[in-house]
Chain length 376, copies 4
């Protein structure tokens, strides 16, 4: 199969996240990088292109010249899909321009800074019949997909309790003065939006809940902490959740849980069983049963759903990491761009982006309005 | 050292919890069972006494005859300390009578059905200068004690996040009709009090937080679930916590977390490090540091605090279980009765009982008053 | 049920192992300590008796006066069963005298210093129709018993690979000069017999293999290490095993595996599945299947065999420790003494003692004879 | 930095291992695939080239035309380094021709079928001053590298015990008739060489021991099992090891350990501490200390050695998998080809290939010569 002609906005030389996207694209094996706006520094952009053996004519200094240059090419040569890996506050403007001109978009998280921006992107993408892939990476893990498949197949009955957490500790030394400079940037609402902890990682826990269960959260009640009065943004918090019918849940999230790395976990309990999954040991899915031994489900076996099996290319026992999960999103996006039938959940789209923004907005509102319940 | 003359109210033949108290007493090696009100069925009480080689004259049919009989004995022969292992709603009346007559008391959890009852017990115990030990068993684990010691010694700096959970699944088959008879009894407010989940197990998570950190919870905001309208008591819930100064936390608790057994866990994060402990693997204490490897702390080593070392009699690597933890409470109570100096936290007393009752009452109130913050 | 009149040889005041036996007896709830030879120091023995409320007339200065005194009592008062917890080299002489006079015996490990001594004990016990219980404690764990039951029921098909290990590190500081005094005692062949590492702990791994699989080891090939030329006894080694038909295995054992505590593990692989168990996490049994998820089996469930269920008195999720395992052996011995039907494997007997001594002798011989295969 | 012009022998369309090499090369970010002998079927080779956007003039039908074609090119365009991912028995002939003509070689494991072949390759590579990289992937894990660094820095003192294992179960259904066809191929000495289990995976455990400790194994004593008489090759075995001075060890390996996946583990015990690492959870390194808490060492921290830090590009808490480890070998090879200074152990070379072949030959000899000690 011929690969897609692929472009990038941002992510050039030395950009960690850009490299991750390129490795993911290699794992998906369906994208060839042929051009883009790789760097705000145009000389660096060209240096990057030289190393990657990319034709200099397709190295652009900004998004407008990109659109001008590519649109002038014959359709058979034009870039087909573009990954946006710029700073967060630029996602919206870049995505809007690209979608308006007919490019499929793969976009880093968070999709935008507000839910209304995300809704606008959705409308354009739908009107132009374009794929929008949001890189909520954790949904690419095979065992998360198996969990989703089994819950939807009724394996644990009706859900009656949901817990999710995303605990990190990296803000701890910053907030306590270890690195004042970082603090300025990381906790600046102009750059980061209305929330730090919930916007950056709480939203992953939120997405994981809606992804694996297929349920929609209706209301949230939040208590957020900035730890210090001079810090404008939340760096820790707990969010109570209400779903349809009698079901409640909780999201716990922190950036000052000292010693924690990327401790994203989810537990879903049903009338007949339960699932537990941890991001730091992603190839293990624990399934609990009413009155029977626990099961440990692992990737690579015939007993798995098609969805999980296709999301793991290595034989059993070879640990796959975050790049492989990332690659699965690229695979899903490639399928969708090709117009192939995709299983729901193969990659997060603009809908997930909108939900995420609404979650963040509602959480911040609940906290500032006396820890009251806010509709999503 | 001569052993204490020990009595029991309840806990006779076939009573699981009574047997546990006797094994704990054997581990503490300071109590000799010489009499009591072992059973509501007096014949069974005597049968039990025969097996245990207890003098029939000290087998009593009820608490009043117990008090009459024992008080008639010379002080050098009279029972000195009594364990109460009757159904919950009888704890108060038994404890009150015993304390009033000068007996030290070891009482099963929950101490009473209301906080005002617990306060009354406290006043009597203090007036009569008696020891009251409440068997919050989990505080007897050596690694819980090491955690308490280290937090109080400043090992993790100032606390900035606290998470605790107690998840069980055993009500699941009952609530869904698997065992209607049990449901009637277990979820009957007359017998169980105002709360099932929070009263039975949430309060352990509460106690564990206050025990290990030395902090007091000031306010709670709770969301409880009865799952079904016909069920009058909570069987699942989440409780947000406020402490002094900017510190928040959360307790998650459930009796319908299908597949969970006694999954009590606590995480305490400070400015300089953190602790994590799990009841189902009680001999492991995980200590996290800012920017350094995690440590796995285990019982039996010279590097531990005196408090933890004295709470573990076996050499390293011999797993101790719940009986051993239980035995530690009995050891602590024995020390206190002897008038020896005890480390704070060696056994839970009436103060912990009052705190627990207040927690339960506040949680239920928050839930019924629109999920608002309630003072403790 | 009336308790057995129980005696002890050794194990008095301050003796750790004696206390463990008394707690085990309490858990089994079938033994009442009424006399014995508690201490070589007779005054200390009496002091112990005073604390335990034991009749002074049944406190004896030595084994001969014990036999004289007890045999003079009416059968209905005479001690029925005696636990031997003296130093190893005295086990044989005490057990022989007790069995010859008609007392059931519970004996600490190792049974004797040679296999011929153990065979002699067997002959006497059989002739006098007496129970001999050897406290190989680890066979008392519920999950070890479930493993045995399932293997014997064919759950994993035909066995094709066996691995066992017992790794400790406590000799490390001694052998490197940290504690010369201990070294003299612990590594003295006159006291410890012909082997340190294999005799003390390797034999547990050996026993665990034969216990759980029901198979007999036919030959061993051993490489042992004393680490230093001046040390006469093995403190580390590996033993290759041959069973019937094409099956091999290996036992790894060490007392200088720095940092290890009591790391006893066993893995048994069959044509259709496998089991893995670890002593330091004894309430978890991992069952592997050909082409299906792993299972985690835990104590306290209805799905377990009768044998495992009866070996665990607490509800699921309450961690049981070494005392509880120990208690199970006492329960098994009590059943056998009462003449009740016992499941094979309910307690280790003299046969297991003989097998263990033969293992130790064969291992030492293989090592000294050029690492050749030696029949067991 | 300009990327190397890279070729492949084998590994074209649909070849799993070829894809893994390409992803590893992408992670290393220093290789651009420009030509090769991608497939024995030349049409498929061209189809692969079309998808990968490779110039058809550099797609060759066989090794000889490859050498002819590339050698005819100007040095500035000629392929510089070639990866060999053909079936095992072809490694030698391809590597020999490539090295003789001046190409750096990256070669799949096992390097050759005999140690004499490997020695021949070494001589050619040295004479021509070429890099030879052998893809013993597991040595690319950051935590394996940290372990190596710390052991060599004396962190655990003098080594006194070594255990390694590599347990798989995938031959189990084949050997028992589940897949007769596979059995013929996998267990055919003409294709697989003199050993199956030890040659394929035991050698990884061997390599891991010599890699992490820097020690050389002097002698082996092996017991191998073919399970069935009609099977000519070992599929299970245990190998006792002798090192210099009083140090022994053991390698356990199996392809019929039912349920095991890629359970490679290594434990190294020294006078002052120990390390334990498991391939299936590769981002955790357990460090044990004499009389102090265990440490859990993880990737991505400043406290690590340069070697480990450079081997992990993601922030702490992002699980890396086998591709990332593989990528580290490609990074190391690239450094060496560029003539940069490399830390010893950055990639396995021909020396490790020779050692591995000698291990396999010695193990098979020991087994067939009555389980005697054989020099390496």
């Amino acid at each position: 199969m011929k690969k897609f002609r692929w472009g990038m906005i941002g992510g050039g030389k030395g950009a960690f996240i850009g490299g991750a996207h390129r490795i993911a694209a290699k794992i998906a094996n369906s994208f060839e990088l042929v051009g883009g706006v790789f760097d705000v520094d145009f000389e660096r952009a060209k240096e990057f292109a030289r190393e990657e053996d990319i034709d200099f004519r397709r190295v652009y200094p900004d998004i407008d010249s990109f659109l001008l240059g590519e649109s002038g090419m014959p359709v058979s040569e034009r870039i087909q899909v573009v990954s946006i890996v710029t700073p967060n506050f630029l996602h919206f403007v870049h995505a809007k321009k690209l979608l308006s001109k007919g490019y499929h978009v793969i976009c880093e998280k968070p999709v935008t800074l507000t839910s209304s921006e995300a809704i606008e992107l959705k409308e354009i993408a739908e009107k132009n019949n374009l794929v929008f892939c949001l890189t909520h990476t954790y949904t690419g893990y095979p065992m998360v997909r198996e969990m989703k498949h089994r819950i939807e197949s009724g394996a644990i009955g009706t859900i009656q309790r949901i817990d999710a957490q995303y605990l990190q500790g990296w803000i701890n030394p910053i907030i306590h003065g270890g690195n004042a400079k970082l603090a300025v940037w990381r906790l600046d609402p102009k750059v980061a939006g209305i929330s730090s902890c919930m916007g950056d990682i709480g939203v992953h826990a939120f997405n994981m809940i809606e992804y694996t269960t297929g349920l929609k959260i209706k209301q949230v009640l939040a208590v957020l902490s900035t730890l210090k009065p001079e810090n404008p943004l939340d760096i820790d918090g707990n969010v109570l959740l209400k779903f349809d019918e009698n079901l409640t849940g909780v999201i716990r999230s922190s950036q000052i849980a000292t010693g924690e790395e990327n401790n994203l976990q989810i537990s879903v309990y049903g009338t007949e069983g339960a699932f537990h999954w941890e991001q730091e040991n992603p190839n293990v899915l624990k399934m609990m049963h009413e009155g029977a031994p626990f099961e440990i489900i692992k990737p690579g076996y015939d007993y798995l759903s098609d969805f999980a099996r296709e999301s793991h290319v290595l034989p059993p026992g070879h640990p796959e990491g975050i790049y492989e999960a990332f690659g699965n999103l690229y695979k899903g996006a490639a399928k969708a761009i090709r117009g192939e039938k995709t299983v729901p959940g193969q990659f997060p789209g603009i809908e997930e982006g909108i939900r995420g923004m609404r979650f963040i907005e509602a959480v911040v509102k609940s906290n500032s309005e006396g820890n009251s319940w806010i509709d999503l």
